[in-house]
């Protein structure tokens, strides 16, 4: 197969925090454990000769848990880390997200309306936070997931301050 043509636009410069990989792995482990418990409960509680679907589920359930575990723990965290990139330039915030469908989003500082920093429960364990930059357009939102908490704080403060300075009408 011929090599992929170059990307239509430049990739942002910076990666997320390396802790993001550990967070995604942790989320994968949690998800796999939940599914594993559900499948175990099914195997223990539902008799094997209950109906025609049950034997299928007895096979498919554990297989699904194994595949889910491999993908969400072994593969996806690293892939995600390699794809997600972000950058704050002098005039704009720039991100790249997505794996199969890639999305580059660029928002100028002068059109920023609000900057949100959120810290989920799992994120707090790993000392991470997400930044969301909102504009007047419902589709023009930039989200940077999983930065180190103090980096996120600094970026948000910096963006909010600069947006205040250069904002003309923001719509």
């Amino acid at each position: 197969m011929s090599p992929l043509p170059p990307a239509p636009v430049r990739d942002p410069a910076w990666s997320l925090s390396r802790s993001a990989i550990r967070l995604w792995v942790a989320q994968g482990v949690l998800g796999t454990v939940v599914y594993g418990l559900a499948v175990t409960a099914f195997l223990l509680l539902v008799p094997g000769d209950a109906g025609w679907v049950v034997p299928v589920v007895r096979w498919a359930g554990p297989a699904f848990v194994v595949v889910h575990g491999v993908v969400t723990i072994g593969v996806r965290p690293r892939l995600r880390y390699r794809v997600h990139r972000w950058e704050v330039t002098g005039e704009a915030v720039y991100t790249l997200t997505g794996w199969l469908t890639r999305t580059w989003t660029l928002v100028p500082v002068s059109r920023i309306q609000t900057v949100d920093v959120t810290r989920g429960v799992v994120q707090q364990v790993f000392g991470l936070a997400s930044v969301a930059v909102l504009t007047a357009s419902s589709q023009g939102t930039v989200r940077v997931p999983h930065l180190e908490a103090d980096v996120a704080r600094r970026v948000a403060d910096d963006l909010a301050r600069r947006a205040e300075l250069v904002r003309d009408e923001a719509t």
Partner: protein, 494 residues
């Protein structure tokens, strides 16, 4: 009926009691209860009917009175406060500088009492829907106009070039931009939304007929006509009903539509039964859309809308020309936003992708159908799949033909859509962000979809499947210098 001081609440006109009693505005919630009573007791004799009617009317009056009594509004120095609620009081305060538009409408019954309904639009961005507006229902026309001028005059910032303080907008010269020509009604049967009116009416009629007890239905017998002529007659009648209904629907909505420019605003007035008066601030207009449905393209008709920042219910309120000749729509759109020049055609790879996508559903049916033919003998499934696939080719080509984009010195344009072709022209300053999307297929074909994020209209307008290597240049040409971050080496990091 007005409060003594400025901040004190004003009440709506007491006539609104009568109005709401007649229309059962508040008592509509009782309909299921009444139906239940009828179902339980049966309609034995006229006495019950009279009692029910009187009871419901009294309840409705009581309800309307309570609502009227508990409702007040106040337009203060800096904000509008609306207080309402029978048991739980709700107080909504909207700062005047957040008000994006004020619409005064006069439904037929309101006009009988000389009243209007004022909708105050305080939507932030294009996210909020109807909940973002305040409705003051039933004030005298003069009070409605006073509210509108006051709220809108306040909103103009101090340094704006608009006009000195204390202006009376009515005294300003008006320039008529367009006026609905009754000849344009002939386009109505080809517009989907107007065709929906008679269809909905016929549907409702059949539902009502279903409810009528069998013994009350007249026995028409069976007409002594051969089957084919019945079918032909029925189809003819249906076509006539559709055409007439769509024209009537168009008349009701657009009767005596006028678009005028007065000072810094565009004012649209329209409607036969309900007169609507919508005011758009020209300074907030960021672009325009000329849309043409399939049928409209056949006869050269079009619809033009303005894209206004922070306008709720934008699809209806932004309309500049609900229906008219293409040339008229283009002229209007051209007055708002400069034309960026002829559109660039998208690369042949976009045509291939479009055709493949349009045929995909047909191919799927074909594949599933082949299996079904082999197992169940359903030969007609693959035949349908083949027909769908064949139809996909012209459809895909037509969808490709609709694609295009252009960037001019002060504006840019994107066009797409086959069922409804939308040609949107936006000002450079409209862009609040860019989004470049690429699926795996697009990546292999060297295509990308470039979405201009805009704080008006739908929120984003896309140039679908443009050549990937043109994406950065297009964004740079269509917006400010900040967008060079997409192409050049990274700028100074902040």
């Amino acid at each position: 009926m007005t409060g003594p001081g400025e901040p004190a609440g004003r009440r709506t006109s007491p006539w609104v009691l009568l109005l709401h009693t007649i229309t059962f505005k508040q008592a509509r919630g009782l309909v299921p209860v009444v139906l239940a009573v009828i179902a339980g007791r049966g309609l034995d004799g006229p006495a019950t009917v009279v009692a029910l009617v009187v009871g419901v009317t009294l309840l409705s009056l009581l309800w309307a009175a309570l609502s009227w009594w508990r409702f007040s509004y106040a337009d203060g120095e800096t904000s509008v406060v609306v207080t309402r609620g029978l048991l739980s009081r709700s107080v909504r305060t909207v700062p005047i500088d957040r008000i994006r538009g004020v619409e005064v409408e006069a439904p037929a019954l309101h006009r009988l009492f000389g009243l209007v309904r004022v909708r105050i639009d305080a939507a932030a961005g294009s996210i909020g829907g109807k909940q973002e507006e305040l409705v003051v229902d039933g004030v005298p026309r003069a009070e409605g106009d006073r509210l509108r001028t006051r709220l809108l005059a306040r909103r103009v910032p101090a340094g704006a070039p608009a006009a000195p303080d204390g202006e009376v907008p009515a005294a300003e010269p008006e320039e008529e931009l367009t006026r609905f020509d009754p000849r344009w009604l002939r386009y109505a049967p080809l517009v989907g939304s107007y065709l929906a009116v008679p269809l909905a009416a016929v549907g409702a009629l059949f539902r009502v007929l279903d409810e009528v007890p069998q013994r009350w239905k007249p026995d028409l017998g069976r007409p002594d006509l051969p089957g084919t002529s019945v079918v032909v007659l029925f189809l003819l009648a249906a076509a006539l009903v559709l055409i007439a209904g769509s024209v009537v629907g168009c008349v009701v909505v657009n009767w005596r539509f006028r678009l005028v420019r007065r000072g810094g605003s565009l004012i649209a007035v329209r409607g036969l039964l309900t007169r609507r008066h919508t005011e758009l601030e020209i300074d907030r207009i960021r672009g325009s859309t000329v849309s043409q449905g399939l049928g409209m393209r056949l006869v050269g008709a079009a619809r033009a809308s303005a894209l206004v920042t922070g306008l709720g219910d934008a699809a209806r309120r932004g309309q500049l020309l609900p229906l008219g000749p293409r040339s008229e729509a283009w002229a209007l759109a051209g007055r708002l936003v400069e034309d960026p020049g002829p559109l660039r055609v998208h690369p042949p790879a976009a045509r291939r992708r479009s055709v493949v996508r349009s045929c995909a559903a047909g191919v799927l049916v074909l594949a599933v159908g082949s299996v079904l033919t082999a197992t169940l003998g359903w030969w007609w499934v693959p035949v349908a799949g083949a027909v769908l696939t064949a139809l996909g080719v012209p459809l895909g080509r037509a969808r490709y033909a609709a694609l295009g984009h252009a960037a001019g010195p002060n504006s840019f344009a994107v066009r797409s859509g086959w069922l409804v072709r939308e040609h949107t022209v936006l000002q450079r300053r409209a862009v609040v962000g860019w989004q470049v999307r690429q699926t795996i297929v697009q990546r292999r074909a060297g295509l990308a979809t470039v979405l201009a994020c805009v704080g008006a209209g739908r929120g984003g307008y896309a140039a679908v499947d443009m050549a990937a290597d043109e994406a950065a240049a297009f964004a740079r040409a269509a917006s400010g210098s900040w967008s060079s971050a997409l192409s050049g080496s990274s700028a100074l990091s902040g």
